[in-house]
């Protein structure tokens, strides 16, 4: 009986998988949306997941996927996908609100240190632009500097003015360039994960035998320091480190 069940399950997955493989992203998106509208969140999530598994994505897909998981009470996966959506569209109010709401439903309370007003103002662009937008802004500033310098070569009379303008734009350019590098490092090189299983035990080493240090619950976000086979060494704060099994978490 069990076997039959498993078999039919497999058949079903392969079948749907084959079906989906031939769908283009737009169709998958539409199918997901209509399933969601009909209240079939499970199906909606699977469509969206399929879409995400292809190379093509957009922030809306992650957002809708987050919503589907939220409805399915899978807070960890919801938070994971909202975070992914925010990386693509950092200014999206819906995503921000939903993420906030999802976080309140997470079990672990992690103190996120509040930044002061000044720091918030300084990092205005950092918080509100994604990597590509920041790259473009940097690019235009860079072009402006280059153009100014070219003009300063040929318009001898205004050379001084042009040069100083170029220098000021250049200063802004360098600040934004630092932002850009920081953002690239944060999102593409430092791996951040979210607990998607109900709970995840953090041990002192990458094996079940090691001492259990603390337990994380669904939805908790952490950064990954090391990767060792089936385990990640994670860091919650300066003094909270541990090894957790890979299957319990997902990387943003």
């Amino acid at each position: 009986m069990k076997k039959v069940f498993a078999f039919s399950f497999l058949i079903f997955f392969i079948f749907t998988g084959i079906l989906m493989a031939f769908d283009n992203p737009e169709d998958l998106y539409e199918k997901g949306n209509s399933s969601y509208e009909n209240g079939d969140y499970e199906k909606a999530a699977s469509f969206y997941e399929e879409l995400v598994r292809t190379d093509k994505t957009s922030s809306e897909v992650f957002y809708n996927l987050g919503n589907s998981y939220f409805k399915l009470k899978k807070i960890g996966k919801a938070i994971l996908n909202y975070e992914r959506a925010l990386r693509l569209a950092p200014r999206d109010k819906d995503t921000q609100l939903n993420l906030k709401l999802a976080r309140t439903m997470a079990v672990d309370k992690i103190n996120i240190s509040e930044r002061g007003f000044v720091l918030n103002a300084l990092l205005f662009l950092y918080d509100r632009a994604n990597i590509n937008e920041l790259s473009l802004i940097c690019f235009f500033l860079y072009l402006a500097v280059i153009l100014m310098l070219i003009f300063s070569i040929f318009f001898v009379a205004k050379r001084r003015f042009m040069f100083y303008t170029a220098a000021s734009i250049g200063a802004i350019f360098f600040i934004l360039l630092i932002f850009l590098f920081a953002k690239i490092k944060d999102e593409n090189f430092t791996k951040t994960g979210v607990v998607v299983a109900e709970k995840s035990d953090a041990r002192s080493g990458p094996k079940e035998d090691y001492l259990l240090q603390f337990t994380l619950h669904e939805g908790t976000k952490f950064s990954i320091i090391k990767d060792a086979q089936d385990w990640y060494e994670i860091e919650l704060s300066k003094d909270l480190k541990g090894w957790i099994p890979k299957i319990t978490v997902d990387i943003i």
């Binding site: 998106y29 969601y36 994505t57 957009s58 809306e60 999802a102 072009l143 040929f154």
Partner: protein, 612 residues
């Protein structure tokens, strides 16, 4: 006579102490005085120095001293400086008895000089210490006054008295302090009046001064009365201090004492009257202040004593809700108006009270402090209906009845109607009006997005895009290229030698090309001219030498300077010799010769290009 003796004494003392540097002496003009009189203390310091220090005056026990100035006298006799300073003090006795003032010391150059103490006898008021004067007969009568310490100084042209209308009073009950000046002589100046100290009392001046004439024992006095109302602030025994008056009066004593001598020492200027300063003080008055009886003391009694009446009025009896009504409570009567505090207004629901201040109006008719105090309140009814204000009650203590009196006012009814203007008005008066917070029943996530932006590959980051990166790098190279180009152009503009040397090769090639064409046409002369020009101009351009100034000799020198080898210089020289031969000696040169020369010229230019 006395003065003469003193003077003689002084002189003798001065004579004895002449040998010393400094002398000091002290004296008074009268050694026996009564309490109302004063004496002048004179301290004289003299010496053969130009600046005399201030003497040390010990505490003048039993007297109040006033400095009356100093006079200095400096004389130079036979080159000898001597000066004397006189310090004058007016002493006013405080008590009777014998006093010894001094000794007075002066310190000069480490030496101490001292003057002997001065003895003064102070007699009671009624005794006549010195000059006799008219004797008034009998006591002055002043009915209606509490005769306690009032002893008009008989035989005086000027005396003062202070008395109160009652010696026992309740707390906060008015006591009238009377200060009267009796004068039968003219005063030279405005008298100086020091009011008595009234510690423990709330005082209220009661102008105007009352002036009238009164005959006491046949003498007509001008009486000036100054009244002050006193309200005791606590119970017990209080002392009203002594008042003091200082005045300059016509010195009758002197005039009368001179009379016996008649014409002998008749003052030819007798019309200039002589004045003397008189200081007068009154006895302190002890007053007993009774506490207010505890018996029957109402709870809301606030300490007002006197005789009061209370009234209340509102400016309108019908009002819209949230519109203000002004309420006035007036307390009118006799007593210490200033200390009256507001009667308690009863709390009424749906009504807001605002204190808007109080005003008082005090009059002192008949020398009794009276008047009214009005407390104003603003009432803002919040709901329609009738508001009942009151009954307002007010309690005070009547010292005449020796009991507490309670006045009660009938309640005032204000009819509040519904406001015609609705919420706006309400908000202005009720800023705390409750607004409903939006109740968050349960939170749900936002709905899914049905549209979507373009699907993009996950790793489609611009910074990984080759085209994007190459545009960035390319633009940088463009900048550098343009910069180098500009550097080159500016050198061409500014450095003629550089420009010429750059142009030299091209110009030479052009000339050689021209020469080449002449070979075929067999124009030997033209050919050699061109060759010559091509080479020499090339060298001139390269070395930045003006063409006309070039000669073969200078050329050789210049080429050597430029670091060209002998071998090459020889080649150039041979070429030029050939050219000269062809151009000027009209020697026969065949086509083959010309071809050879052409090659030589080309070789030279290529060679030179390498070295210069």
């Amino acid at each position: 006579m006395k003065y003469i003796i003193i003077f003689l004494l002084f002189c003798s003392v001065a004579a004895v102490s002449y040998a010393e540097d400094m002398t000091i002496s002290a004296d008074v003009d009268r050694k026996e005085i009564t309490l109302d009189e004063q004496t002048t203390l004179t301290i004289t310091v003299s010496g053969k120095v130009s600046n005399i220090p201030q003497p040390y005056i010990p505490g003048l026990n039993g007297f109040t001293a006033y400095s009356s100035g100093r006079s200095q006298n400096v004389s130079i006799i036979n080159g000898q400086i001597s000066s004397s300073v006189t310090f004058t003090y007016i002493l006013v006795p405080n008590n009777t008895g014998d006093y010894a003032l001094g000794p007075f010391n002066i310190n000069y150059k480490g030496k101490t000089y001292s003057a002997d103490p001065v003895n003064i006898k102070v007699l009671p008021r009624d005794s006549q210490p010195s000059a006799p004067s008219q004797q008034p007969n009998g006591q002055p009568s002043d009915p209606g006054r509490v005769d306690q310490n009032i002893q008009p100084q008989q035989g005086k042209e000027l005396f003062i008295e202070a008395y109160v209308d009652k010696l026992r009073a309740y707390v906060n009950e008015q006591i009238t302090l009377n200060f009267a000046v009796y004068q039968a002589v003219n005063l030279f100046n405005n008298p100086l009046y020091n009011p008595p100290s009234t510690t423990g009392f709330w005082t209220e001046d009661m102008p105007p001064q009352k002036k009238y004439y009164k005959i006491i024992d046949g003498t007509r006095y001008l009486v000036t009365e100054i009244k002050t109302a006193l309200f005791a602030t606590g119970q017990g025994e209080f002392t009203i201090g002594s008042a003091r008056l200082e005045a300059t009066v016509e010195d009758v004593d002197k005039v009368s004492s001179r009379a016996p001598f008649g014409a002998f020492d008749q003052d030819p200027f007798s019309m200039f009257r002589i004045g003397k300063t008189v200081a007068l003080t009154t006895e302190p008055i002890k007053v007993e202040i009774l506490p207010l009886p505890e018996q029957n003391k109402p709870a809301d009694f606030k300490g007002d004593v006197g005789d009061f009446d209370i009234s209340l009025n509102v400016d309108k009896s019908t009002v819209e809700e949230n519109q203000p009504v002004s309420l006035k409570i007036k307390i009118k009567g006799k007593g210490n108006i200033k200390t009256i505090s507001s009667p308690v207004a009863p709390e009424i629901q749906d009504v807001k009270f605002y204190e808007s201040g109080s005003s008082e109006n005090i009059s002192k008719d008949d020398y009794i402090v009276q008047g009214e105090k009005i407390f104003e309140k603003m009432i803002i009814p919040k709901k329609e209906g009738n508001i009942v204000l009151g009954p307002v009650e007010y309690t005070y203590f009547d010292p005449v009845l020796k009991d507490y009196v309670r006045k009660k006012l009938a309640p005032v009814i204000i009819n509040v109607t519904k406001s015609k203007e609705e919420p706006a008005e309400k908000n202005t008066f009720a800023p705390e009006a409750t607004k409903e917070e939006i109740q968050l029943l349960k939170r749900d996530i936002g709905y899914i997005k049905t549209f979507h932006t373009e699907f993009r590959p996950k790793n489609a980051f611009l910074y990984k895009n080759i085209i994007f990166l190459s545009i960035n790098i390319l633009s940088f190279f463009i900048l550098i290229a343009l910069y180098l180009y500009e550097l080159y152009r500016s050198r061409l503009r500014t450095d003629i030698g550089y420009a010429r040397s750059l142009r030299a090769r091209n110009a030479a090639s052009k000339r050689l090309k021209g020469a080449r064409e002449t070979i075929n046409k067999n124009m030997t002369k033209e050919f050699y001219t061109e060759i010559y020009k091509a080479v020499i101009e090339y060298i001139a351009d390269k070395l930045n030498i003006p063409h006309p100034s070039i000669t073969k000799d200078s050329l050789e020198y210049k080429l050597k300077e430029a670091g060209l080898s002998e071998d090459n210089i020889d080649k150039v020289k041979t070429l030029f010799d050939d050219c000269d031969m062809a151009r000027f000696a009209s020697a026969r040169f065949t086509k083959i010769d010309m071809e050879r020369t052409y090659k030589q010229a080309e070789g030279i230019i290529t060679n030179l290009e390498r070295y210069i």
